[in-house]
């Protein structure tokens, strides 16, 4: 069954929120990390409430709320979120106080807000949404897991409008740990050069992207969403992709654009290189991680990108890797993997 992306809201290291433009004014970062451009939250959250909220909660709630703007929908039937690390700022705050104050006189707020379901819960609270509410926390497929649940819920007829999205923050402590684990470049690099220079490591990133999915076709929709699929250590990803496309009566040459999770790390990008010369050899390719950085739910940025490409019939120059797409752009495949272990596919299609 096909669902539709009615709207999309994305807070990222680029100007993707509160803007009429579409990646036409790119922010450059030099180093090993991209940081999120936070909007003015008072347009979305009561400042009294916002003061108690950590950054990830503000980003998630603002993006979740913005999805409803201009849709005529005040309360969705369900809210589903994905996040691998959850509310790190609150987690670190509580851990730090516990250590520094030797378990005495700890304020509860950080603990209360540290649970992974806080963002989905706060959206529900703000919208007074009593419907289905779930949070998926499975590493690099947290977002696709949430999206899969949303599609299944619609297929079951249990929900007609669903807010679904993903959110991840990169606090200094996580950045430090992930750097020590060797995820990032040894030398500072510009994000605009990241994908052109092959080396070990990538750049870290973060962001929140939420979508309003609906089961109703409408010219107002951004795009269609035909499927989301996750794989754990598949024996042969190339065959898995062929089978996936076949299930949707598509051949790879019928895909107008493929957005891959290329991130500038040699090991990470090897599979994209291989597929680009094989199953995707005649396809137009695009990338996105030089704009938002690498993080477990970065594919939510890719879905925001794909939905906007379908709606606007325009591929921003900054994302193009190879080829010129023929018009109309009807089918976009997003293929991302996380540390070669988890693979995920999303099939975005025309809005009608």
């Amino acid at each position: 069954m096909k669902a539709y992306i009615r709207s999309a809201a994305c807070i990222s290291p680029q100007k993707t929120f509160d803007t009429g433009g579409f990646l036409n004014d790119i922010t450059e970062y030099t180093g090993t990390r991209l940081t999120v451009i936070d909007p003015d939250y008072k347009n979305y959250i009561d400042p009294k409430l916002a003061r108690r909220m950590s950054t990830i909660i503000k980003r998630g709630v603002a993006a979740g709320k913005k999805c409803l703007e201009g849709t005529g929908i005040d309360v969705p039937d369900a809210i589903i979120a994905g996040t691998a690390f959850g509310c790190m700022e609150d987690t670190i705050t509580f851990l730090a106080r516990m250590v520094e104050m030797n378990e005495e006189m700890l304020p509860p707020t950080a603990f209360i807000q540290s649970t992974h379901n806080t963002v989905a819960a706060q959206i529900a609270l703000m919208l007074q949404c009593h419907g289905y509410n779930n949070t998926f926390v499975h590493k690099g497929i947290s977002f696709e897991s949430a999206l899969f649940d949303a599609l299944m819920l619609m297929n079951e007829g249990e929900a007609h409008n669903i807010i679904v999205g993903a959110t991840e923050e990169m606090v200094d402590a996580s950045y430090k740990v992930l750097t020590r684990l060797g995820l990032y470049r040894r030398q500072p690099v510009s994000n605009l050069e990241l994908l052109k220079s092959e080396a070990k490591g990538t750049m870290g990133g973060a962001g929140s992207a939420f979508f309003l999915l609906t089961d109703k076709p409408s010219p107002d929709n951004l795009a269609g969403l035909s499927a989301a699929r996750t794989y754990y250590q598949p024996d042969n990803i190339e065959k898995a992709i062929v089978d996936f496309l076949c299930e949707h009566s598509l051949k790879s040459e019928e895909i107008d654009l493929i957005i891959t999770g290329r991130n500038g790390d040699i090991k990470n990008d090897a599979i994209y290189n291989t597929l680009g010369e094989n199953i995707f050899k005649s396809n137009v390719l695009a990338n996105y991680k030089h704009l938002c950085g690498e993080y477990p739910v970065s594919s939510s940025f890719a879905l925001w990108l794909a939905a906007n490409i379908i709606k606007r019939q325009e591929i921003p120059e900054i994302v193009a890797e190879r080829g010129v797409a023929s018009r109309p752009i009807k089918n976009i495949l997003i293929y991302n993997h996380y540390q070669n272990k988890y693979q995920a596919l999303m099939l975005v299609s025309a809005a009608d």
């Binding site: 509580f94 030797n102 603990f111 949070t135």
Partner: protein, 399 residues
């Protein structure tokens, strides 16, 4: 939509036992699992009773064959998931699509918090192997590898309703024809992080907890893991065993009242229970036993109790909170209590609500005080509610 989903395997570990048989024995003996904290050094030692699993990390490492650096949560998950998987006796798992849907609330926090002490003093210190499995997804991945499951794996975290949602989700995956077999549930070990967290909220009892008692003062934390194996009708036909029961109803609703407190009228829990009954096509009077969320906090038990009153009055089923035995096992509780609910149907049991003395003044009903066997139990409801207003009810029904 889809076929019936059957429960064919059970596995559980908690403060009152390391497997299903030991739990049944503890219930019959009415033996609670709380005691002093021994797992880590804390200011709250001898102050707050907790229900620890009676196995050291060293014993768990030996038992599970996992590496020495493993999070206790992973090991608890491994023990219970393996018991469930072996109990199911799936003869030819390769012939079917199998999923592992697991849940927890703080991932490998027991290891992360010891990493953090050194790290916070100097960002270049702290052994990285202790932070490697910080993510909630790590536990799921490691145990899925042990079980040899890879067709579909994911992790859910909705605070204290986490593993009830994992079971709910697994049942839907089978009904939707995505997978044929699922091992579903969750795990959480005790950590200094959660112990201090709940303590700052002032909802822990310094004595043994008294769920649904007028004079209750809070919860005791516990730890554990609980898993069920769910299969489609088609898979059941290939097994040399009867199903324990089927999963007939489920609902996930949000209280949308407060980040941690439950609404006084129990909106979320009422909607979850009502929705689960509707899904199962049952009337409130069909339910024989409710395994309550029943944490023992003044707020939860009042809110949940009022929701039960709204839905069930005047036909109250037997109710009790097995957290009076196991403590509150947080992200594991939905899985642990789903196992108890299934066993209630299988063996005709109603578990006692230990230490109950005085009926709550706002409620016209009270929990069962003593262990009852030989009951005719057809439909059991299991409630799991969490921070963020996440309320989930599951209904298990005799085949």
């Amino acid at each position: 939509m889809g076929s019936t989903v059957y429960v064919v395997g059970l596995g559980v570990i908690s403060g009152i036992g390391n497997n299903v048989a030991e739990h049944l024995s503890a219930f019959e003996r009415e033996a609670a699992g709380m005691g002093d904290i021994s797992l880590f050094d804390t200011l709250h030692q001898h102050q707050l009773p907790v229900a620890e699993v009676k196995l050291s990390n060293a014993e768990l490492i030996k038992m599970t064959g996992l590496p020495g650096r493993s999070s206790r949560t992973t090991m608890l998950s491994s023990v219970a998931a393996k018991e469930a998987w072996e109990d199911a006796g799936i003869t030819d798992p390769k012939a079917f699509r199998t999923g592992f849907i697991s849940a927890n609330t703080v991932g490998g926090m027991d290891k992360s918090e010891s990493f953090f002490v050194e790290f916070w003093a100097d960002n270049n210190k702290g052994k990285l192997r202790n932070i490697f499995d910080h993510e909630c997804g790590s536990m799921t991945e490691i145990v899925a590898d042990q079980l040899g499951i890879k067709d579909f794996i994911t992790t859910i975290s909705t605070a204290c309703s986490s593993s009830a949602n994992a079971i709910f989700y697994a049942a839907r995956l089978i009904k939707n024809g995505i997978i044929d077999i699922a091992v579903a549930g969750g795990a959480d070990s005790l950590t200094k992080f959660t112990l201090n967290g709940f303590n700052t909220l002032m909802i822990t009892d310094k004595e043994l907890c008294r769920p649904f008692d007028q004079n209750r003062e809070g919860l005791n934390l516990g730890e554990g893991a609980g898993y069920v194996v769910l299969v489609s009708e088609q898979v059941l036909k290939t097994l040399n065993k009867q199903a324990y029961c089927m999963i007939s109803g489920y609902n996930n609703s949000n209280d949308a009242y407060h980040q941690t407190a439950s609404s006084p009228e129990g909106t979320g829990s009422y909607l979850a229970m009502k929705g689960a009954l509707e899904k199962a096509g049952l009337q409130p009077s069909d339910i024989d036993y409710i395994n309550l969320h029943g944490t023992g906090t003044p707020n939860n038990d009042s809110s949940e109790g009022i929701a039960v009153r709204r839905l069930f009055d005047p036909n109250y089923p037997a109710v009790s909170s097995t957290k009076s035995f196991t403590g509150h096992t947080l992200g594991a509780s939905g899985g642990v209590e789903a196992v108890f609910s299934v066993l209630a149907i299988k063996h005709g049991l109603i578990y006692p609500n230990l230490r109950f003395e005085t009926r709550m003044e706002e409620l016209p009903f009270e929990p069962v005080k003593h262990f009852q066997a030989g009951q005719n139990i057809k439909h059991v409801m299991s409630n799991s509610f969490g921070f963020g207003g996440n309320c989930t009810s599951l209904i298990f029904s005799a085949v």
